[in-house]
């Protein structure tokens, strides 16, 4: 049985979950309002890490390990996503000369 640091009065589970939600919300808001592809990728990272914070917080509370494992997985996935996403951004820059997301309208029906 691993020994976890107990959550204190001043920093409760609700605080940490609140932080995670705030980070996720900032990412989601940024994703919806910004146009620059690089910034969008950064917003995606924010959302992922918001979720990670919530997971870690919940892993502390009942003393479960699985959420931490998921977090490690999500680091890997996020790294891969960032790699692919940035590569795409480079290609889009080369092709279109801009990273404005509105310039990508090929799918318009």
């Amino acid at each position: 049985m691993m020994n976890f640091l107990p959550l204190t009065e001043s920093v409760s589970l609700a605080h940490i979950v609140g932080l995670g939600v705030a980070v996720f919300a900032a990412g989601a808001f940024g994703f919806l309002v910004r146009r620059n592809l690089i910034v969008l990728l950064m917003c995606v990272e924010l959302m992922l890490n918001g979720a990670n914070i919530v997971l870690v917080a919940f892993s502390r509370a009942p003393g479960a390990v699985d959420p931490q494992v998921w977090v490690i997985f999500m680091f890997a996935v996020a790294a891969a996503e960032a790699g692919v996403g940035l590569a795409l951004a480079v290609l889009i820059w080369r092709r279109l000369g801009t990273l404005d997301i509105d310039a990508l309208k090929e799918l318009k029906g």
Partner: protein, 630 residues
């Protein structure tokens, strides 16, 4: 199972199949013309040898026990109902197998000369072997279902060979006509077969091989279908099949047009073998007709009428092959008369002699056509006896044989048929048959006179035919001379072992010989030297004959035109409007309009997609939470 197992039978039908595959697949690429022709002929020769071996083994058996069977595999098995891929050799199929392989071999050899230099030489031999394979299957089949396979196969071969020179639209359409007309007959055959199987099934009999059917023929006689006696109905339906394949009224119209094919094909398929399949089938199924004498009367009357009608038409034809074609129709009518009078053995006897002399006459006509560079009009021939001595002598042999001059082949068989018909009590049919015999002698003498007597009227240079063509004709001529005597002595007792020997009344012989003599004399007196005798005497009648009583035109107006109009309507309304319009294009239009509505959702704006995504996520989350808490 009755009959002796005899595995050699399958080897009778396999060589032609091998020849078909070899010539068909490799012929043009690998084999020279000479090799291809020899290969094709050799395959048939092998079949002939196997047929001879099998028949000699058959002859060694006691007369009452002459039946050899070879079952290759079970073809159809549905519960207790089974149909085997089985072959059967009994006296009837033995005679047919010998005639088919023997005459086929001679005609194959002849074809090497006749088709020399043709662009599709190998294809020709492949088709010819294909035909012989299916003909042997038809003849040797041990049940009517397998027989039907052969029946359809020879029909296909006939179609392919009539339209062999398919670049000529007229020849291609002659092939189509033969095929379609045969389909009508085949529908009758198939319907008869199904009814037969149903009747047997109702009686608790599940096998369809001939021995079983024959033993249970009374089941059909006792049953009735739609208020009609089943045996009668089956007999008539099968006979409809026979009228298609064997060119009887009213379905004979395809045979004269079938002369568009190469002449050896006319000799083999449209004179000697395939067209006799109907007679063979009726003889094979004769146990059924014994149970339904009324059906036999239909056969008798149809055969008699066809024999007479075709002989009358043959009198006025200008094309040498058309004369022979109508003659074939007429002679087939004789065979059906024999079957109708209950004397199927006499019919098969005439079938055999007819195969000899009609093949001979056709090959002789082919030799003439070959020698004249393709000319078929009798009025552009004449005097050929000096230019083509051998062909003349051979044609004259065939002429005497078909006219019924004793002691040649045609005399024996035709005389026997007339006598049987007379003894059966059908006096008017006999009289018509006798008159037709005189007509036969007349039209064939007319052919001989127009082609070989007097002076040459054409312009084309005449050249004789090579030995590869005349030698098979010579053999056929020998058979045409001796076939009748030999047949009367051996064939009839072989076919019907128990039957008493034939008694020929001298009066009967005198009457039929004088009919033949009258025909020949009339021809020598009447056939003009330069102009058509009949045209001068009765111009309107002659025109009627020349146009074959306008039967083709009648069919055109009564059947083809309404069918064409119906086909046009089905194209315009059900096909174009319903299937193409409502179903095919309608489905497409439905999805097009749906797509047109849905494409508004595809804005191309990534952030719009993200909002929808988020909204969807919220809805799902709400649904999960609602399910959890409520």
């Amino acid at each position: 199972m009755e009959g002796n197992f005899y595995p050699l039978l399958k080897w009778m039908i396999l060589p032609p199949l091998a020849g078909f595959v070899l010539n068909g697949l490799l012929g043009k690429r690998l084999l020279s013309e000479r090799t291809g022709g020899i290969l094709g002929s050799l395959a048939i020769f092998l079949s002939f040898i196997f047929a001879l071996l099998s028949v000699s083994d058959l002859l060694n058996l006691p007369a009452a026990d002459r039946l050899l069977r070879d079952t290759l595999f079970t073809w159809i098995s549905a519960g207790p109902f089974t149909v085997d891929f089985a072959l059967r050799l009994d006296p009837l199929s033995a005679v047919m197998a010998l005639v088919v392989t023997g005459v086929s071999f001679l005609i194959h050899v002849y074809s090497i000369g006749y088709m020399h230099g043709d662009r599709c030489f190998h294809k020709y031999f492949a088709y010819l072997n294909f035909f012989v394979f299916f003909m042997l299957l038809l003849v040797l089949a041990d049940n009517p279902v397998l027989m039907f396979v052969g029946w359809e196969g020879v029909g296909l071969a006939s179609y392919l060979l009539i339209g062999f020179w398919y670049e000529d639209p007229e020849k291609a359409s002659a092939g189509k006509k033969a095929f379609v007309t045969n389909r009508i007959g085949d529908a009758g055959f198939l319907a008869g077969l199904m009814l037969l199987a149903a009747v047997m099934h109702a009686g608790g009999v599940y096998g369809l091989d001939f021995a079983t059917l024959s033993a249970n023929a009374q089941l059909a006689a006792g049953a009735s279908f739609a208020g009609v006696n089943a045996a009668f109905l089956i007999g008539v339906l099968l006979f409809v099949g026979a009228t298609g394949k064997s060119a009887q009224f009213p379905l004979y119209v395809w045979l004269p047009d079938a002369m568009a094919g190469p002449t050896p094909v006319s000799a083999l398929i449209h004179a000697a073998t395939m067209v006799t399949a109907g007679v063979y089938m009726l003889s094979r199924m004769f146990f059924l007709y014994e149970a339904a004498p009324a059906a036999l009367n239909v056969v008798l009357i149809t055969g008699c009428f066809t024999a007479f009608l075709a002989a009358v038409i043959a009198v006025a034809q200008r094309d040498i092959k058309k004369v022979l074609a109508y003659s074939t129709v007429s002679q087939l009518g004789y065979m059906f008369m024999a079957v109708g009078a209950g004397a199927w053995a006499a019919g098969v006897f005439h079938l055999t002699t007819h195969a000899f002399f009609k093949a001979l006459l056709f090959l002789a006509a082919g030799s003439v056509i070959h020698g004249l560079g393709g000319e078929q009009d009798l009025f552009k021939m004449g005097g050929l006896r000096k230019h083509m001595r051998t062909t003349f002598i051979l044609t004259a042999t065939g002429w005497l044989a078909i006219s019924g001059v004793p002691p040649l082949a045609g005399f024996y068989s035709k005389d026997l048929i007339l006598e049987k018909v007379f003894n059966s009590g059908a006096g008017f049919v006999w009289l018509t048959g006798l008159f037709t015999a005189a007509l036969t002698a007349y039209y064939i003498s007319r052919l001989l006179i127009l082609a070989f007597m007097d002076k040459y009227r054409g312009k084309e240079h005449v050249h004789g035919s090579p030995a590869v063509m005349t030698a098979p004709m010579g053999l056929l001529a020998v058979l045409s001379v001796a076939g009748g005597m030999a047949g009367a002595a051996w064939l009839l007792p072989f076919l019907q072992p128990g039957a008493p020997p034939e008694h020929h009344s001298a009066l009967m012989i005198a009457v039929s010989v004088s009919a033949a003599a009258a025909g020949i004399i009339a021809a020598f007196l009447l056939v003009g030297r330069r102009t058509e005798d009949l045209a001068a005497a009765w111009p309107r009648f002659h025109k009627l004959l020349l146009n074959k009583f306008y039967l083709d035109e009648l069919y055109e107006a009564l059947i083809l035109k309404p069918l064409e109009r119906f086909a046009g309507w089905t194209f315009r309304v059900p096909d174009s409007k319903v299937i193409d319009g409502a179903f095919v294009n309608g489905t497409a239009a439905l999805f097009m309009s749906m797509g047109r509505g849905l494409r508004a959702a595809q804005t191309g704006n990534a952030q719009f997609y993200a909002i929808v995504f988020l909204a969807g996520l919220c809805v799902l989350l709400a649904a999960v939470l609602a399910g959890y808490y409520l």
